[in-house]
């Protein structure tokens, strides 16, 4: 779809000669656009109260108050609109079959991807690459775009070593056209993997303890592999040739500290464990999730670790689910919710502001709840985060973290034409994403369709997922 316009014109001409009827039903999308009279938040500089953005062949070619729309541009009347750099979702599994994007299935399916010729089992194969596994369904990105999200970091949702992530453009296009940058980070999870885990549920590791042991052993093996290969490269004569190992080869930039690791950790203790592991092996940590990151902001800052912060803030549910019946304290049988649960719901929206105040770099993660994304952004601001910082956390900051700030994250000439157009203001109630541009391609957001309806949430994950299979195995007779 992203053909240069002249080439597309040639193709059209050829098609018109061959089958004139079909050509009338396949209009070529315009490649030149001008959004006029809009309020522009370029992020790279101060807001422009009323200005024009010109897009040509997928790139921003001009932006400013005194820019004139070129004659061949399709015009969009931007009055009443605010234009932002296209929002970036800083972590997730968009584009994976049965990943967390489509709303169905489970992360477990993603863990079934296996690398050929690997010496390590599924879920422990660092050599996997998101770009090799991406297989977005026709509606995979609809909900995300509906919330103004135009690009996302994506990797499988399950496993320990999940492979390297990619930053992708959320277009309806072949996978090759989606990849903005490959090999951004090695993603590491601390669960056995979704949906029963790998190894058929009975395999090692089967507990959080085993996960840490496996991580350590594999990183030690990578160090050993490095030393063996280096010795053999220095002088192969008289030395038995070391085996090739794709997993350990893929971990070399990780243990060298040149490729960062995205560590999924939410609670205070999970974050401490993740940072300890990173320190033990000299890894470059990025914390993802981070719902309690504000409690350990000093440690995160000291580790120089950015946080991909989930803004899928918890709220008390109306009913159903595990929390049902615990809500009210009126009934004689009802148990009051633990204070830590009540505190967490109030504290989480304040986390971003607290992290920013501590000097921690923060990029936002939707947590896959695109229907609530605009409201959650506002809650982060109400919780104490500067509005400009909140916008940066979904634009320039992730672009910097993922090494693409030279092409994405702001509205500047020469950058990729990813834009989010909001009727009103993204940070005001009533602000509504009306359309997005991705690689200069326009996607209109249907007014009626709420993203939440398009992406039904999965059933709550079992709280037992992280638990060892055999907690009944010690010796209290009651168990």
């Amino acid at each position: 779809m992203h053909l240069p316009v002249r080439l597309a014109g040639v193709a059209l001409l050829v098609a018109a000669v061959a089958t004139p009827g079909a050509a009338q039903h396949a209009p070529v999308p315009p490649s030149t656009w001008a959004i006029t009279g809009a309020r522009i938040e370029p992020v790279s500089g101060p807001a422009i109260a009323k200005g024009t953005i010109v897009i040509r062949d997928g790139l921003i070619v001009a932006v400013g108050a005194n820019v004139t729309a070129p004659a061949d541009a399709r015009l969009i009347d931007g009055s009443g609109m605010t234009v932002y750099p296209g929002l970036i979702d800083a972590a997730g599994s968009l584009g994976f079959p049965s990943g967390n994007a489509g709303g169905g299935g489970g992360g477990g399916a993603a863990s079934r991807a296996t690398a050929p010729n690997s010496n390590y089992g599924p879920g422990m194969q660092a050599e996997l690459r998101a770009v090799d596994q991406l297989d977005p369904s026709a509606t995979a990105f609809t909900a995300a775009r509906g919330a103004g999200v135009t690009a996302a970091l994506t990797a499988p949702a399950a496993g320990i070593f999940r492979g390297t992530s990619a930053l992708i453009a959320l277009r309806d296009a072949p996978v090759g056209e989606l990849v903005i940058r490959d090999g951004i980070a090695q993603h590491i999870g601390f669960s056995r993997g979704g949906g029963g885990g790998f190894g058929g549920g009975g395999g090692y590791p089967g507990s959080l303890m085993g996960v840490f042991a496996q991580l350590r052993q594999e990183l030690l093996d990578a160090q050993h592999y490095r030393d063996l290969q280096a010795a053999y490269a220095r002088n192969p004569r008289g030395m038995v040739r070391p085996d090739h190992d794709p997993t350990l080869a893929a971990l070399q930039p990780v243990i060298a500290g040149t490729q960062p690791v995205v560590l999924f950790a939410n609670s205070e203790r999970e974050i401490i464990r993740a940072l300890d592991l990173a320190a033990e092996f000299g890894l470059r940590p990025i914390i993802a999730g981070g719902t309690e990151a504000w409690k350990v902001a000093d440690r995160i800052k000291a580790a120089n670790a950015p946080v991909l912060l989930s803004i899928d803030f918890p709220r008390k549910s109306a009913g159903g689910g595990a929390a049902a019946g615990r809500g009210g304290r009126s009934g004689a049988d009802s148990t009051p919710e633990p204070l830590r649960v009540l505190r967490d719901r109030v504290d989480q929206p304040k986390g971003a502001g607290r992290l920013a105040a501590a000097g921690v770099r923060v990029a936002f993660v939707s947590g896959n709840d695109y229907g609530e994304l605009p409201a959650n952004l506002r809650r982060a601001v109400e919780g104490g985060l500067d509005k400009a910082a909140a916008l940066r956390a979904m634009t320039l900051e992730p672009a910097r973290l993922f090494g693409v700030a030279d092409r994405l994250g702001t509205i500047e000439a020469g950058k990729i034409a990813n834009l989010t157009l909001v009727t009103g203001d993204l940070f005001e109630a009533g602000g509504k994403v009306s359309q997005v541009f991705i690689d200069g391609e326009r996607y209109e957001i249907p007014a009626a369709a709420t993203p939440a309806a398009q992406a039904p949430r999965r059933a709550p994950a079992s709280a037992e997922d992280d638990q060892a299979a055999g907690t009944d195995d010690h010796d209290h007779p009651a168990r």
Partner: protein
């Protein structure tokens, strides 16, 4: 909201930054001091200073800045030590393999477990948190001081020697029988071994491999010493490293076991491989082989009067501790249970009834003997000058069912105090009321956010943690 923010902020400070400073001194006066190792001292003062028991005597002077507690009519005893617990951990078993010596309880400690506070309220100050008993060689244990409110790292007992869990008998073989197959769930894989014979073989195989592994490092070091160039060190093996430490006597073995025959098997195997089993855990039939256990040098950690919950736990008697102790075995009582961990004084009291232990002997089973079993006998377990100030003040004699702790100290710092607990309740209720009135804690109106929106946990496994 300002009040709330201030309160939250103060809690953060209390749980984090304040951790480092040594506790201000405390002088406890006119107490009945149950030293455990040196008898009972009446009308005695104890000074806690710099985290240590600084002085024991009469008419002690309170140093500057000290808090003085008049403990007339009250009893001071060492903090209770529970040699077998699974509290405050996010995982208990790595049961997937027969040998999981590479896994560590220290990696999965949960310092926010409220059972810690309950245990403090029962006078318990140190736990041995063990891997479960799903497999013959389990994971590495963690010895902790229950400094509730601190991080896991701050709770690890400084200098406690590392240990490891072994398991014999039914729990290990049970992994292969009676497993419930749930439709739609992955079918559990059977796992070797399915007999006690197999358990012995697993141990023999593992230690044989550990000896080979140790030899590979010894060979490497010898070649390095001879000046060979371009050598690469052997692959580090996290499974075998802890077993080498067992062979070298630097890692303590805590072996879950019930029957006399399986305990004898392990002791003989340990003799053969040249290491000592530190404790036999549960050990309900230890009374049958008390001299053999004593000769090997193992201790036992058992229940006072809990048995019959499975076949291998049938042939038990309440005199197990008395019989083994008289034979020279270092014997302790443990809880193996989050709730029982706060009532270990009652279990100790039962030993006075069954076997005629003295008060000091009974108290030793939940204090100094456990400290010795965990390799920290020089640090805790009795009230002696120079030991850590881990002490508990009781309103009556701790071997009475009518008594309860008033104040629990660890390293001279108060981690439970019954009056403080009462005083805190009103503030907590006020905080709760304020929190419940906050928007995210209100039940949403149906119009808002659609069905099921709210406390739904994160839908995908990307966000693993339970919230």
């Amino acid at each position: 909201m300002k009040t709330l923010a201030t309160l939250v902020a103060s809690l953060v400070v209390a749980s984090g930054v304040a951790a480092q400073a040594p506790a201000p001194p405390t002088l406890i006066t006119h107490a009945t001091v149950l030293t455990v190792t040196n008898g009972t001292l009446t009308d005695t003062d104890v000074l806690l200073q710099g985290g240590k028991i600084a002085a024991i005597g009469t008419g002690l002077r309170a140093p500057a800045g000290a808090t003085t507690i008049d403990a007339t009519g009250q009893y001071l005893m060492p903090g209770i030590i529970d040699p077998h617990s699974h509290m405050m951990s996010d995982a208990t078993n790595e049961g997937s393999l027969s040998v999981t010596s590479m896994v560590r309880i220290a990696d999965v400690l949960d310092p926010t477990d409220t059972h810690i506070y309950d245990a403090l309220a029962g006078g318990t100050t140190t736990l041995n948190i063990l891997h479960g008993s799903a497999n013959t060689i389990g994971g590495q244990n963690a010895v902790v001081k229950l400094k509730y409110g601190r991080t896991a790292a701050e709770m690890l007992f400084p200098g406690a020697p590392p240990g490891i869990k072994f398991a014999l008998g039914e729990n290990v073989t049970r992994k292969n029988s009676g497993r419930v197959i749930v439709v739609g769930q992955p079918q559990p894989q059977p796992r070797y071994p399915s007999s006690r014979m197999g358990q012995e073989e697993v141990l023999r195989d593992a230690f044989t491999r550990a000896i080979d592994y140790r030899r590979s490092w010894e060979d490497y070091r010898a070649r390095v010493a001879k000046g060979e160039k371009n050598l690469v060190a052997p692959r580090r093996d996290l499974e075998l490293e802890p077993l080498v430490e067992v062979l070298e006597g630097t890692r303590l073995v805590h072996a879950h076991s019930y029957r006399a025959d399986e305990m004898l098997m392990l002791l003989e195997l340990a003799d053969e491989f040249g290491f000592t089993v530190q404790t036999l855990q549960h050990a309900l039939e230890a009374y049958k082989i008390a001299p053999e256990i004593a000769r090997h040098g193992a201790g036992i950690s058992t229940f006072a009067d809990m048995w019959g919950y499975k076949i291998e736990a049938y042939d038990a008697i309440p005199y197990n501790v008395a019989v083994t102790m008289r034979a020279g075995v270092l014997s302790t009582i443990n809880s193996d249970d989050d709730g029982r961990a706060r009532r270990l004084n009652i279990d100790a009291a039962k030993l006075v009834r069954y076997g005629g232990l003295t008060d000091d002997e009974a108290l030793a089973t939940i204090t100094i003997n456990g400290a010795k079993q965990l390799g920290v006998g020089d640090r805790v377990g009795s009230i002696e000058v120079g030991k850590d100030a881990d002490v508990v003040l009781w309103n009556g004699h701790p071997l009475s069912v009518y008594s309860h702790p008033l104040t629990t100290f660890i390293d001279g710092e108060i981690f439970f105090d019954v009056e403080r607990d009462k005083a805190k309740r009103a503030a907590l209720e006020a905080e709760r009321a304020e929190l419940e009135a906050a928007e995210p804690n209100k039940v949403p109106t149906p119009s808002r956010g659609g069905a099921g929106r709210g406390a739904t946990p994160p839908a995908d496994s990307t966000w693993e943690s339970r919230r």
